[in-house]
């Protein structure tokens, strides 16, 4: 059977992204033909402003060059405007007579700039700001003329004004509303923006309406007259007063349009053979003008064109960031608020910082940031997630604490970093090289940055910085995925929560079954999803599911930590950090026998033997005759203790004994991520319980339990959870909390991240306040760990022996 014909009208970002998504999932389904009215291949329209400002060239912003179209066998008609769609014979006809038949038609005709209906609007020297042609015209005018007037103080108008000013023109912005960016900013922030633009030499006439444009002797525009009679010189007039979806072609073909080509949630128009995406579309009554929602639309359209038929577009929340170098401005959602919402405001006029957050029903619904936008992406995430913020309300305005982050010299604000400053301390990636990659390679998401630059791809502590850099470079085009809806990985569109829910609801018992039921897009997943699925299966159906070694990464599969030279490290368990002379002798003997090059005392109060060859692991374990320390696993690691009441003159509780009890109870506990505990015998807290997943601090009258601490990438102080009297209570509350985390945590989510997502109150309600539930959780944990076996002993006895044996020829 021959391929079907897909014709796309419009060669812009939304359309081409749809083709890219389609080629990914159904590369051979269609013969593709593309018509583009402009003479250029697909370019990054968002970056026209930097081109105008002289920071980039046209070549830099091409996203898909001619080779790309050729490589995918796409027939490209550039500079040909389609004038007619014949829906009966299913073909499109261009102005020059070129015809193309279609089985499916994709309309991506974009939008047209709105031209004010005033006399003189067609004079030479009056342009809009939409494409490469307009940009070239402005650059040319800046060389030859002096006075520029930009009509419209919106995002595009201000970026145009800034660019023209940088190119040496005298620029006045005429704006109808009383303040700039009235759709993105409230009045206070608008005034602050105006002041800082005035400091750069731009002039503003606000609350003014254009009456007419006046020609000079040459016939070119020479002046603009406003309604009150004021007249100012203008050799160039840029109209940036808004855009209108370009529906001319669709309407002429009788396809239903109302403020855009009307589509349903699958991006299908009223003609089932015709799809539409991008700025030409009206979805649920909204026409979007920012690129992020348009990309989401493209993905959905591709899914249906590719006959998958499972994806829906349900609308987008958008955010705004002005791309004027040196001005920090961010807004999102409903930032005006109303009688049923509350506001939190910080206004430091002299310092040039303004922040306003609008809250409704304990949720963030909008915000404006001026002067300090570092937390913009975080607020936007909270907004999109619809997260309950009442617990963090008192410090919400001060942003997400980045104080504990390490690896980038304490920087938390990307804007203030020099290009040479290191953003990713793991992979040595500077801010400059990230910005360069974003611009040159056309990156739009954090994942793109990780893939292309490696920044944020190891420990991830600089992910926030990378998001800031992304949002500063491409402006409102950047939209983070809602964190509770983020897909597990590239193999699926389903989120961690959806996968968990499906496993429980459908009683799925194997990775194969999950992948079949949720229609995984790759044959056997990848190194991201397989370990996650394996964990979800085991933690949901512990008695029925068998662990899959093929879905364990090497450390958990081999039960040792791989090192950079391919050897392994071995950390035997020392309960509560306690050991004996006999154990130490055996460790020393092993070190001699296997010529262990490095022996190190770990931060978890035990001993690490580094440089063991894989084929020696089993005999090393046999000779050590100690249980596994699980230093390699997403599992219980250690319970660190101080010497406690056993020896210490300040001790109030038996910290070592308590630590050993906890560690024995939790032995071999598999979890979403590693789990560390500590027990201190008094509030001096020598065991550093404040930065552990569960920290226990002995006091005279019992124990205080703290949860969600972290001493790693992001130093996070544990939060007080409960005070208990007896040793048994410590085991029950700590056990129940950890079981809750095991059942609800997303794979690779530490307790601090889990609590950030669900809220400490949630954990307290389920564990502290609900006795019945606590006992049930604790019971499930104990039942699951009752038959825990030492993985080292099992392997010494012959389990999985293939893993460790070399083959020879």
């Amino acid at each position: 059977m021959g391929k079907k014909n897909l014709v796309m009208v419009g060669n812009g970002m939304a359309g081409v992204r749809t083709l890219e998504e389609l080629l990914k999932i159904a590369p051979d389904q269609y013969e593709i033909t593309v018509f583009g009215a402009e003479p250029h291949p697909n370019y990054n329209r968002i970056l026209l402003s930097p081109v105008l400002a002289g920071e980039m060239t046209i070549q830099d912003i091409i996203l898909n060059d001619h080779d790309w179209y050729a490589k995918h066998g796409i027939k490209l008609h550039l500079g040909k405007k389609v004038s007619r769609i014949d829906r009966v014979l299913r073909r499109v006809i261009a102005e020059d007579g070129t015809e193309a038949p279609y089985d499916r038609l994709l309309l991506a005709t974009g939008s047209n700039p709105f031209i004010l209906p005033v006399p003189g609007n067609d004079l030479p020297g009056v342009i809009s700001y939409r494409d490469i042609g307009d940009t070239d015209a402005m650059i040319d005018a800046a060389r030859r003329y002096r006075h520029a007037v930009v009509i419209g103080g919106g995002l595009l108008g201000l970026e145009a004004a800034n660019g023209l000013k940088l190119r040496g023109m005298d620029v006045t912005v005429v704006h109808l509303a009383d303040w700039l960016l009235e759709r993105q900013l409230d009045q206070t922030a608008g005034r602050m923006l105006q002041k800082s633009l005035e400091d750069r030499g731009l002039k503003f006439l606000l609350g003014k309406q254009t009456e007419m444009l006046i020609a000079g002797e040459s016939g070119r525009v020479a002046a603009i007259r406003l309604k009150e009679g004021l007249q100012i010189p203008a050799d160039l007039v840029v109209m940036a007063v808004g855009i209108r979806p370009n529906t001319t072609l669709a309407e002429s073909a009788g396809i239903y349009c109302h403020r855009g080509i009307v589509v349903n949630d699958t991006m299908q128009t009223y003609d089932p053979k015709v799809y539409a995406v991008g700025e030409c579309v009206a979805h649920r009554g909204i026409a979007y003008g920012l690129v992020a929602p348009l990309f989401e639309q493209g993905k959905v359209a591709a899914n249906h064109l590719g006959n998958y038929g499972i994806s829906r577009y349900t609308g987008s929340v958008t955010s705004t960031k002005l791309k004027v170098t040196g001005i920090d401005l961010f807004s999102a959602g409903d930032f005006f608020g109303g009688h049923d919402s509350e506001e939190i405001v910080l206004n430091d006029a002299a310092g040039g910082v303004y922040k306003k957050l609008v809250i409704k029903d304990n949720k963030l619904v909008g915000g404006v940031l001026y002067g300090d936008t570092a937390d913009g992406p975080w607020y936007f995430q909270l907004l999109r997630d619809g997260q309950d913020i009442h617990e963090i309300r008192d410090h919400l305005l001060f942003g997400q604490s980045h104080v504990g982050d390490v690896g980038h010299q304490g920087h938390s604000k990307a804007a203030s970093m020099a290009d040479s400053a290191e953003v990713c301390g793991c992979n040595g990636v500077s801010k400059g090289s990230i910005v360069k990659a974003i611009k040159e390679k056309g990156l739009f998401t954090l994942d793109d940055i990780k893939k292309h630059t490696k920044a944020a791809s190891s420990c991830g502590s600089c992910a926030g910085l990378c998001e800031q850099i992304l949002s500063a470079t491409i402006g409102g085009a950047y939209t983070p995925a809602a964190s509770n809806r983020k897909a597990v990985c590239g193999c699926t569109d389903y989120s961690h929560q959806e996968v968990r829910d499906a496993i429980r609801a459908q009683h799925l018992l194997s990775i194969d079954a999950v992948m079949r039921f949720l229609e995984w897009q790759t044959p056997d997943g990848c190194d991201k999803c397989r370990p996650a699925l394996n964990y979800y299966l085991i933690s949901t159906w512990p008695k029925e599911v068998k662990d899959d070694p093929r879905s364990r990464l090497i450390n958990e599969r081999a039960h040792a930590n791989i090192q950079k030279d391919g050897t392994f490290s071995v950390v035997p368990r020392m309960w509560g950090g306690l050991t004996t002379a006999a154990e130490l002798r055996r460790i020393a003997d092993v070190a001699d026998k296997y010529q262990v090059p490095t022996i190190k005392v770990t931060g978890g109060q035990r001993i690490d033997l580094l440089g063991i060859r894989k084929e020696d692991l089993i005999s090393v374990w046999k000779d050590l005759d100690m249980p596994s320390g699980h230093a390699y696993g997403k599992s219980i690691r250690t319970v660190k203790t101080c010497v406690g009441l056993e020896h210490c003159r300040f001790g109030t509780q038996l910290a070592m004994a308590m630590g050993v009890k906890l560690e024995k109870m939790l032995f071999d506990m598999y979890a979403p991520h590693k789990v560390k505990l500590a027990v201190s015998g008094c509030p001096r807290n020598c065991a550093e319980a404040g930065i552990k997943d569960v920290g226990v601090i002995g006091v005279d009258s019992g124990y205080e339990l703290y949860v969600g601490g972290n001493g790693g990438i992001k130093t996070e102080v544990a939060q007080f959870f409960v005070k208990v009297r007896r040793d048994e209570d410590v085991l029950e509350y700590a056990g129940a909390f950890l079981q809750l985390y095991r059942e609800e945590g997303f794979y690779l989510e530490r307790t601090c991240h889990y609590l950030e997502r669900v809220g400490l109150d949630h954990a307290k309600q389920r564990v502290v306040e609900d006795e019945e539930n606590r006992k049930a959780l604790y019971g499930r944990l104990l039942a699951e760990l009752k038959d825990a076996k030492d993985p080292w002993a099992e392997r010494v006895a012959g389990v999985e022996h293939n893993e460790y044996e070399l083959l020879s020829v």
């Binding site: 190194d527 791989i562 894989k614």
Partner: protein
Amino acid sequence: MAEWKSICELDDIPRMGSRVVRSTSGNIAIFHTSGGEVFALRDQCPHKGGPLSQGLVHGNQVTCPLHGWKLRLDTGEAVAPDEGCARRYPIRIDSGTVFLQI
């Protein structure tokens, strides 16, 4: 002169798993995919020399255990945007026995 040498039975290599052959010219990783195919690559990632044999096998790819590079088992080439290549070795299966040409 390269010769075909028998190294193991097909059943000795777990599906979606691998084994390591020690040879005089260095370690060679033998992969067995979910589709039942077998491939051999030099056990060294072109990035920083990580032992590919210890990686997770998915489809016709392996993910290096050190820094997550993905390599195609059929060509030995890194998956874009990474660039690099691990040497391939000819391999065949004859009545359930795996032969490697080295």
